[in-house]
């Protein structure tokens, strides 16, 4: 039946980083990530193998170095459709057979496209490893992309967008991304939209697969209850036949931040609350300030007692939750403050969020806040690397971004290094103040005047019923 949680999970609250645990945190000098081996197959596939024998489970995380930024212009959604269609039939098994075989061993297997890359995660009981791995390898190397499956999936996707638009919280990030990045590839919707999907054909998917799914473009991380030499053999025998072929690099220019204050109002006529995002460009995944930014953001909007949540929820009761996030990508990802409030308090909540941001710039942070947030971030870190699937995902991403485990092993030291001066510099450099994009999803007749007030140029306006974001 229904469960009401006290708080929504703060997405990316402590900006969970990569890696593993067993090296207890009592000794700050010890590495956090357990050791793993990196092996390059002859055809260029990169393997990352880590043994973890605590539970009889094996987790895989596969990264293909091509995401939705590689979608052909006007055909947004191709990378994402390609990812979804992989499981819908191979040269040896139909979609139905794959589903039955996977479900019979209680396996988990998902493939998803993101902006910068496509990732597959799979998990099996150790006793089913051989069958599970056969499935994963077959799906990645021998998909059939049957026309009938393509047609079905396309219709599901188009309907899925309509369904998502019935819930503001499902789509506000897509509207915000599109508005913040404009024509930059990061502004294009990962899953496509009603218009772009209508123009995608099966051939687009086949082309995408043949162009980007090649051995040299693939990272496979395996973590769990196996021996490394055995896992190497299992993977080699299944992926060695994948032709060595280099894939084109997708060139993405550096995005430009929004100048001045720009406001997009999205009308959703049945709204009793206004959902809003306020932000601008944030940081790259590889930014050397990443952990320091996380420290400041956690106290600003990344935990329950953060300044934003204290002001908008705890002290005023304006909302169920207010938070801020820095999403990180190959290029600068978005920074945003996000919350929602009833229609009548929209102005009050936006003003309050902007005041909290201004106060951060004017007053910096206190020693007490810093001390609390450092203990908090270190205390909350071990669960982020507790399980084999989290470890696999983390080491695969480190490899994708050209980082190694020292990026994570230095986490506690980097957290501890942030003092008031460092925080002041981080705020000045990474938290926007005067230049901001605002996106509001709500009942336009009741909030249009308020929305317009924040814009230094004429208000931008859309309806959720219009195609696209």
């Amino acid at each position: 039946m229904m469960k009401m949680p006290r708080r929504a999970l703060l997405a990316g609250a402590a900006m969970a980083l990569a890696n593993s645990w067993m090296y207890a945190q009592t000794d700050p000098a010890r590495p956090l990530v357990p050791p793993y081996e990196k092996i390059q197959l002859r055809n260029g596939v990169t393997l990352l193998l880590m043994e973890q024998h605590e539970v009889p489970i094996v987790s895989f995380n596969v990264i293909v170095k091509a995401g939705s930024v590689a979608d052909p212009m006007g055909k947004e959604g191709v990378a994402s459709l390609t990812a979804d269609l992989l499981r819908k039939g191979t040269t040896a098994r139909t979609a139905d057979q794959i589903a039955v075989d996977l479900d019979f061993i209680g396996g988990d297997f998902d493939v998803n496209a993101a902006l910068d890359f496509t990732s597959a995660s799979a998990e099996f009981l150790a006793k089913d490893l051989g069958q599970g791995l056969d499935l994963v390898a077959e799906v990645l190397t021998k998909p059939s992309f049957a026309q009938a499956e393509f047609d079905k999936l396309l219709q599901q996707r188009i309907n899925g967008i309509k369904s998502a638009k019935d819930q503001a919280s499902n789509v506000i990030a897509r509207y915000f991304n599109a508005y913040l990045y404009g024509s930059h590839p990061y502004g294009r919707p990962v899953g496509g939209d009603e218009t772009s999907l209508a123009g995608v054909r099966r051939e687009d998917v086949v082309n995408f697969y043949q162009t980007y799914y090649s051995a040299a473009n693939v990272i496979i991380a395996a973590v769990g209850d196996f021996r490394i030499p055995e896992m190497r053999r299992l993977l080699e025998s299944r992926f060695d036949s994948w032709p060595a072929k280099s894939a084109p690099q997708t060139q993405v220019s550096e995005p430009e931040p929004v100048r001045g204050k720009r406001v997009l109002l999205v009308d959703k006529p049945d709204s009793t609350q206004t959902y809003f995002y306020i932000g601008n460009l944030g940081i790259r995944r590889t930014d050397p300030d990443r952990v320091a930014v996380a420290v400041v953001n956690t106290l600003f909007g990344g935990r329950f007692t953060s300044r934003l949540n204290t002001a908008l929820r705890v002290d005023s009761g304006l909302t169920y939750g207010a938070s801020s996030q820095f999403d990180q990508r190959q290029h600068r990802g978005p920074f945003q403050i996000s919350t929602y409030t009833r229609n009548e308090s929209t102005e009050k909540a936006i003003d309050m969020a902007l005041e909290i941001l201004k106060a951060l710039h004017e007053q910096g942070v206190t020693d007490a806040e810093l001390q609390s947030v450092k203990t908090y971030m270190k205390g909350q870190f071990p669960p982020t690397i507790e399980t084999s699937d989290r470890l696999a995902s983390n080491i695969a991403r480190l490899e994708f971004y050209g980082l190694d485990k020292s990026d994570v092993d230095s986490y506690y030291a980097k957290v501890d290094a942030v003092d008031q001066d460092a925080a002041r510099r981080i705020i000045r450099q990474h938290f926007p103040l005067e230049n901001l994009a605002l996106v509001l999803v709500g009942k336009a007749p009741e909030i249009r005047q308020i929305a317009a007030k924040y814009s230094s140029v004429p208000l931008d306006f859309k309806s959720v019923a219009q195609p696209g974001f």
Binding site: K3, A95, N159, S163, Q167, K268, R303, Y376, E386
Partner: protein, 448 residues
């Protein structure tokens, strides 16, 4: 039994240990690696040592939820749960969260129809602090008028986001209101908006009196601890809290449903939505396991019957889900389908009934039932991967089955389900007269 393997830590090891601890410390019973103890005030403690990370998950389950409420103050359990964070004698307003986070911990809580559950996740170094915080609010909660008003706004916002701005939340509320005529499962856990706006200090005090006696609580601790240290801390911090009475028993029973009920919600939307509910038994009932096997056969994975029929073959819907959760009293087995644009909800409904009819008339295959059991077992392992998953599962089995040991025998209980059992429960519960149907019909400007 193809998928029956047991983790070493889950293997049955029935023995009792006397802990090497100062005299007069009582024995903790130990079974399946779980140490248990009941304090003098009636609070029950379950401990599982797991040193894989230097962290601890501490959950406290109170047997009080929206089923213990009355019309006029619906949602008070959930609101009270929020107030448990808003100040007590030693730790005033805001200090619970500030102290917890400064010690490296985080927390959450949830309320359901049956339970109110408090969850703390923290590093080992914060263990004693967490006991101090939890004991203080159970022992000496102070209810502040100003905090009540502010929290009222928070909960109203929570309701707007989970009901007004969420079509499936809205439809579920209407479905349950129609499916039950007598039992308190008919009102939403979050409460009706008018009740949220009008409950009083007196209502909160009464709720504390009936629900928060230590004898109504079970504490589950999993992580980098020993049973001995948890017992010592519990005796120091929790045992002095005086015991009070238990909540009055919920005596209302839902009368048998004598015919289909239908309800419709008209609102702005891009797509319609369909929910169908059947009255089914509580978790402690012997049919619980067969119902879970049935749910898995029908809804879990892309090889499940409903997915194949509605999403894949007939392409009527973009998703179809089945839910049948833990409950103290007879509950609902709920089916939710999201029709595609241009597909009439009745078409989706009829396809669902046809699939149920197939199960009524014929048996599932050997492969299907084995697959369902394998999925249930693999799901069980996935839930047990983390200390928080273990704490949650242990507490839920202790609450809903009256004994955490049922968690460890669940795989066997699922394995005993036969094809004939599946057919029998479809025939017993999935009848037209036992059915409630709720439909969301888009209007003005939606795509339909």
């Amino acid at each position: 039994m193809a998928a029956m393997i047991l983790l070493p830590s889950l293997r049955r090891t029935l023995f009792c240990v006397l802990l090497a601890f100062p005299a007069a410390v009582p024995a903790l019973a130990q079974d399946y690696g779980i140490q248990t103890y009941t304090l003098k005030n009636g609070m029950k403690i379950l401990v599982e040592e797991d040193h894989s990370i230097p962290n601890i998950a501490l959950y406290i389950f109170y047997k009080i939820g929206s089923r213990n409420e009355r019309p006029g103050t619906t949602g008070i359990s959930h609101f009270f749960e929020h107030m448990m964070f808003n100040g007590s004698q030693k730790y005033g307003p805001k200090q619970f969260d500030e102290t917890m986070e400064a010690a490296g911990g985080s927390n959450n809580a949830y309320t359901s129809n049956d339970l109110t559950v408090y969850q703390d996740w923290f590093p080992r170094s914060a263990l004693e602090k967490v006991f101090d915080l939890e004991a203080d609010r159970i022992h000496n909660l102070s209810l502040d008028e100003k905090m009540i008003e502010s929290e009222r706004g928070v909960v109203a916002s929570e309701r707007r986001s989970s009901v007004d701005a969420n079509n499936s939340g809205l439809l579920q509320e209407q479905l349950e209101a129609a499916a039950y005529t007598a039992h308190p499962y008919q009102w939403p856990v979050v409460g009706w908006m008018a009740d949220i706006e009008s409950w009083t200090m007196e209502d909160l005090k009464r709720h504390f009196e009936i629900g928060y006696s230590p004898a109504n609580a079970t504490m589950v601790v999993v992580g980098d601890v020993t049973g001995a240290e948890i017992l010592r801390l519990a005796q120091r911090y929790m045992e002095p809290i005086p015991s009070r009475g238990l909540p009055p028993p919920v005596t209302t029973r839902e009368p048998e449903q004598l015919g289909e009920r239908r309800t419709i919600v008209r609102k702005f939307a891009q797509l319609p939505l369909v929910m169908i509910a059947y009255h089914t038994p509580e978790s402690a009932h012997r049919d619980y396991y067969a119902l879970q096997v049935l749910r898995t056969i029908l809804f879990d994975g892309e090889s499940s019957r409903m997915y194949k029929r509605l999403v894949d073959q007939d392409q009527l819907a973009i998703s179809v889900r089945g839910s049948y959760g833990f409950a103290f009293d007879p509950t609902l087995f709920r089916i939710t389908a999201q029709p595609k644009a241009g597909i009439r909800p009745e078409t989706v409904e009829n396809a669902i009934y046809e699939e149920l009819n197939r199960l009524r008339e014929g048996l599932v295959t050997d492969q299907e039932i084995q697959k369902a059991k394998n999925i249930l077992l693999a799901d069980f392992y996935r839930r047990m991967k983390t200390i928080s998953g273990k704490a949650n599962a242990l507490g839920n089995y202790e609450m809903f089955f009256g004994n955490y040991r049922k968690m460890f025998t669940a795989a066997d209980d699922f394995n005993r389900v036969t094809k004939e059992d599946v057919q029998r429960i479809v025939r017993t519960y999935f009848t037209d007269r036992n059915r409630t149907v709720a439909t969301l019909a888009p209007e003005n400007g939606g795509a339909q």
